[in-house]
């Protein structure tokens, strides 16, 4: 049963009329480099050499049970409005049951596309408890009253414990042993199945209502949800993104798969979507937070078939989001990394390795290597020979937020006010989540801003992730790129013609091929800092099956930033309110507006498989936590003793205000620095990571 697509009907009528008119852009099907699987107008803005579109692929609204308990009341409609430039309300730190909503948020630059991805497991109970009319069976159940009040013991305000309610709701479907009983007791009598279908239809309707099918192509939505698999608190979550409006009747959740089994997810998606006769259904799944997966996100596949299914369904993974970065990990105090020596891998790391609390988080030597995507990328090449040549971990990269506020793409560092409703609302709860951040953006190179074009870009991995800003990054690999290609105004066309873009496989070597060459170019985000440098990260497998990596600086220049410089960065930002270049001229920022280079791999060995991805670094800007600390009169740049005294004062104030219990010391985090913490930085070098280009030895 499809949702009422009244707007679609209007477009249909429009299309049959315009098909007769030879307008500037009625393109024949054969002209399109991607398959058109839906009815819509052609886009006025269509570029064969592709354009960058900035979007969100991981966002929760009030339809997600956890967001709801945290007093978030922005539904998918509000979320899409926000993505297009509207405002949303956010709850006060002290809010209960959704009241009061005292904060506002708004994007200064709207997104090009977004997918709302609410937790699929509890959609039925959410519909019954929070959206059904009085008298609906189950609405008066204790679980529903818990959800609506946030009280474990509904009616007893002293039992207010939203995280507890969330945990009770989640325990069954997300952590349940295989197929034991209905998801929540209320589903014994209430019709959770119908309710789930109903809420899923609302999700589809919201996506349809906000998808611009006209030739303006101003905004694209994707129907989606989150498959919230987490065996024993190891994160195996995936975001399921559908290509068009042709979607299954209900989401395939952990309930459907009888537990947290991605392989079963793919099997069911294949049956209900990919292989469904006479349907244009297409879908991909994006795993996230490998850094919290306890080493389980990228397990050795059981068979070549499983490897192939993973490779088919999962062209992309999140390299960075609110719950920290998953590229690589380096502990500056131990001077050691997880299969790396890359000191830039201190970037946005949390202490633990799983989704839940860890009394004894692993040190850098015990940290599971495949919690970091770079290691999985290397291991994938090493595994391929035993999987009939299939590389199971051939992931392209994107960023996202995983915000639970219904505010997609809300990644501006200086405006960060938490991503989890009351649980990290300013100020104290926010400071308590010191190591987390605003998350990043998904960027795709696509011909036009439409579902088919963007989805195709995701499938071929022509994507990159950012840490929240919007640099424009191009990356191509080929055998014949001229050293002077950067000066060529047609460099992008040459990039495509004589090689492959990010996410691609290097063409076969020819007789005359020497070393592979890579065109890496970046243009800074006009509203952020200048670019410091471009690096290329190479990973390869030697003849003995051992993996290696090496990071090359290929454009721009690394700098040692003095504490005085970094302090100045934050002071300038706080005074002016901006993070862009105009306010920082006094700092003699020697970064660049643009960088471009053609790099030849000096260590190339034609017999060894390898990948190469580009990492682009901005010059430092102020981290959100430093700004929040400064506003609370705690200066992370002050001498340690002074900072600690300021923190003590701030803690005491918070205790006096009843915001924390006596003895809690959240503001102490403000005094974490590059000198006394393994990962924390007081400033942040925003960055982008492109999907890799892979090389496989020929033959």
């Amino acid at each position: 049963m499809k949702p009422v697509l009244s707007r679609l009907a209007a477009i249909l009528a429009l299309c049959s009329a315009t098909a007769l008119v030879a307008a500037d852009g009625v393109r024949a099907e054969s002209d399109l480099p991607f398959k058109r699987t839906e009815i819509r107008e052609d886009c006025d803005s269509h570029e064969a050499l592709r354009q960058p579109f900035f979007g969100e692929t991981h966002l929760h609204t009030s339809f997600s049970f956890d967001a709801y308990t945290l007093s978030v009341r922005n539904d998918p409609n509000a979320a899409y409005e926000f993505a297009k430039g509207g405002t949303v309300m956010l709850p006060d730190a002290s809010a209960r049951a959704g009241k009061p909503q005292t904060r506002t948020a708004q994007l200064l630059k709207p997104l090009d596309f977004a997918a709302v991805t609410d937790h699929s497991e509890l959609l039925g109970p959410m519909e019954i408890c929070t959206r059904s009319p009085k008298g609906t069976t189950g609405r008066g159940s204790i679980q529903c009253r818990q959800m609506r009040t946030g009280e474990i013991d509904p009616g007893d305000p002293t039992s207010f414990n939203p995280e507890g309610v969330s945990g009770l709701w989640a325990a069954n479907p997300l952590l349940r042993p295989n197929g034991s009983g209905p998801l929540l007791p209320l589903c014994k009598t209430a019709d959770c199945k119908t309710a789930e279908v109903s809420l899923w239809q609302e999700i589809q309707q919201a996506a349809e209502d906000h998808y611009d099918r006209t030739s303006a192509c101003s905004f694209t939505t994707f129907v989606g949800y989150e498959y919230t698999a987490q065996p024993l608190l190891s994160n195996l979550h995936r975001n399921v993104i559908f290509r068009n409006a042709d979607v299954p009747l209900a989401p395939v959740s952990n309930i459907t798969t009888g537990g947290p089994f991605p392989t079963v997810l793919w099997e069911k998606l294949r049956r209900r979507c990919i292989d469904r006769k006479g349907s244009d259904c297409d879908v991909l799944t994006i795993p996230h937070n490998a850094n919290l997966a306890g080493g389980l996100m990228f397990p050795d596949p059981a068979s070549p078939e499983e490897a192939a299914e993973r490779a088919f369904f999962e062209p992309l993974t999140e390299i960075y989001q609110h719950k920290a970065a998953s590229e690589c990990r380096y502990d500056r105090q131990a001077q050691a990394g997880v299969e790396t020596n890359d000191s830039l891998c201190t970037f946005e790391q949390v202490l633990g390795s799983i989704l839940g609390p860890q009394s004894d988080p692993p040190d850098i030597y015990q940290y599971p290597p495949r919690n970091m995507v770079r290691n999985a990328l290397k291991d994938g090449m090493a595994l391929a020979p035993d999987l009939e040549g299939v590389n199971p971990f051939k992931y392209g990269l994107i960023g996202s937020t995983d915000s639970h506020n219904g505010d997609p793409g809300n990644t501006v560092e200086k405006d960060f006010q938490g991503h989890g409703g009351t649980i990290d609302a300013p100020v104290v709860p926010l400071i308590e989540n010191f190591r987390l951040g605003p998350g990043g953006l998904a960027v795709v190179w696509a011909e036009e801003n439409s579902r088919d074009s963007i989805f195709s870009a995701m499938r071929r991995k022509e994507t990159y992730g950012t840490s929240g800003t919007r640099p424009v990054v191009r990356f191509f690999g080929g055998w014949d790129y001229d050293a002077g290609l950067c000066e060529n105004p047609d460099r992008v066309a040459v990039g495509y013609d004589d090689g492959v873009p990010m996410g691609g496989d290097l063409p076969d070597m020819t007789a005359g091929s020497g070393r592979p060459r890579f065109l890496a170019a970046a243009l800074r985000d006009p509203d952020s800092a200048k670019l410091e440098r471009i690096q290329i990260v190479k990973g390869w497998v030697d003849a003995g099956g051992q993996t290696h990596e090496r990071v090359y600086d290929v454009a721009g220049k690394a700098r040692d930033y003095t504490k005085r410089y970094l302090k100045g960065v934050c002071e300038a930002e706080v005074t002016s309110g901006n993070a862009d270049q105009t306010t920082r001229t006094a700092l003699a920022d020697r970064g660049r507006n643009e960088l471009c280079t053609v790099w030849k791999d000096p260590g190339f060995n034609a017999y060894l498989p390898a990948f190469y991805y580009a990492r682009v670094l901005e010059t430092p800007t102020c981290r959100w936590s430093t700004r929040v600390c400064l506003a609370a009169d705690v200066n992370p740049f002050a001498r340690p003793k002074r900072c600690r005294a300021q923190a003590a004062r701030a803690n005491a104030n918070a205790a006096n205000n009843g915001e924390i219990a006596l003895g809690e010391v959240p503001f102490n985090s403000c005094c974490l620095t590059e000198q006394n913490d393994p990962f924390i930085e007081r400033t942040i070098q925003e960055r982008a990571w492109t999907s890799p280009v892979w090389y496989a030895p020929g033959g």
């Binding site: 209960r96 005074t575 915001e659």
Partner: protein, 345 residues
């Protein structure tokens, strides 16, 4: 606690209900008349409550601005901060008068929590702690409680129609649409070619280079599509097709987008600045903005009109509330140290 002048406690019954219920009551609200204990403020015999802003409070407000923005407030900024503080105080007191603190579980719980911190006897139960909180006047002194009550009152004021208010009709919606065309229109789109001169490569000489190049391009009547080769390569391409002003702004900054919006098609512009350098722009074609008929955007317009309504209700309500107070602001002269601070920034 203040009562209405005529001695009758005018406490709108609806105000006891959770604020969100206002949004559901729809048409019922429009039948309501004069919920607020509105005073005309003048005339003998009407007792006005005193509201005093002391020098100490002004100093605190001043410090707040410094903490938030990094620099001391100018006179205007300070006046605004004081006015906002007065509004908050009035809303808070009116909330008390309307009994919004009673039956508010969030506030009750907070008071119980604070009382728990200060109680001598740690064995008190929830009820006793609440009573203790009231005894100690914590409901009057706690900053968070005050803030919450003020906010709730503000929301209530925004969601309650004023006397004689009618739901927005088509005429009002049409007028709003006409007055705010930009917000609802399909924006104008531009097709342009630009020549780029990079600041990275040329430094400040880029500006002169750009001017010289502009003259050359105009003199040689070069085909616009070929012109970019005489400048530097731009990663986002030189032929931008059908971008909106907002799109150009995101790509190349506000100055560039604003300049392009004013260009005559079919000619080379003077150098236009972007965060990257200078650009010579040739606009090929403009598709003008289209204002849709009300029917197509009715929902969006209604939403905007109601937002404006709510703001208006709050400001009108505050006006009439203010009339019931006699407000004393202490004369404030920032001392010499503060003046120096302001001057030296």
């Amino acid at each position: 606690m203040r009562r209405a002048a005529d001695g009758v406690a005018v406490i709108p019954r609806l105000l006891r209900a959770p604020v969100l219920h206002f949004l559901l009551l729809g048409g019922l609200l429009y039948a309501a008349v004069g919920w607020w204990p509105v005073r005309d403020g003048e005339g003998p015999g009407i007792a006005r409550e005193r509201l005093v802003i002391t020098v100490g409070q002004i100093e605190e407000l001043r410090q707040d601005v410094i903490t938030r923005s990094g620099r001391p407030p100018g006179p205007r900024q300070l006046r605004d901060a004081i006015a906002a503080a007065i509004d908050e105080e009035i809303l808070y007191r009116e909330a008390l008068a309307a009994g919004l603190d009673r039956g508010n579980t969030a506030i009750r719980q907070r008071l119980v929590k604070i009382a728990g911190f200060v109680a001598d006897d740690q064995g008190l139960d929830e009820k006793a702690l609440y009573a203790l909180a009231l005894d100690l006047g914590l409901d009057r002194s706690d900053v968070v409680v005050r803030r919450q009550l003020a906010m709730t009152m503000r929301l209530a004021a925004g969601n309650t129609p004023l006397a004689g208010e009618m739901p927005p009709g088509d005429a009002e919606l049409e007028a709003y649409l006409a007055a705010h065309r930009d917000r609802f229109s399909e924006p104008a789109r531009f097709r342009l070619t630009h020549v780029y001169l990079s600041e990275d490569r040329r430094g400040s000489a880029g500006e002169t280079d750009a001017r010289v190049l502009a003259d050359t391009l105009r003199a040689t009547a070069i085909v616009p599509d070929m012109a970019p080769e005489s400048g530097d390569p731009f990663l986002r391409g030189h032929h931008l097709r059908w971008q909106t002003r907002q799109g150009l702004r995101s790509m190349l900054g506000a100055e560039f987008a604003d300049a392009v919006a004013d260009l005559e098609p079919g000619t080379w512009s003077d150098p236009i600045r972007s965060p990257y350098g200078w650009h010579l722009v040739w606009v090929h074609d403009v598709r003008p903005a289209v204002t849709p008929p009300l029917e197509r955007v009715r929902d969006d317009v209604m939403r905007a009109v109601m937002d404006a309504r709510r703001d208006w209700r709050v400001s009108e309500t505050l006006k009439s509330m203010r009339a019931g107070y006699s407000i004393d602001i202490a004369p404030y002269q920032p001392d010499a140290a503060a003046i120096t601070e302001a001057r030296d920034g």
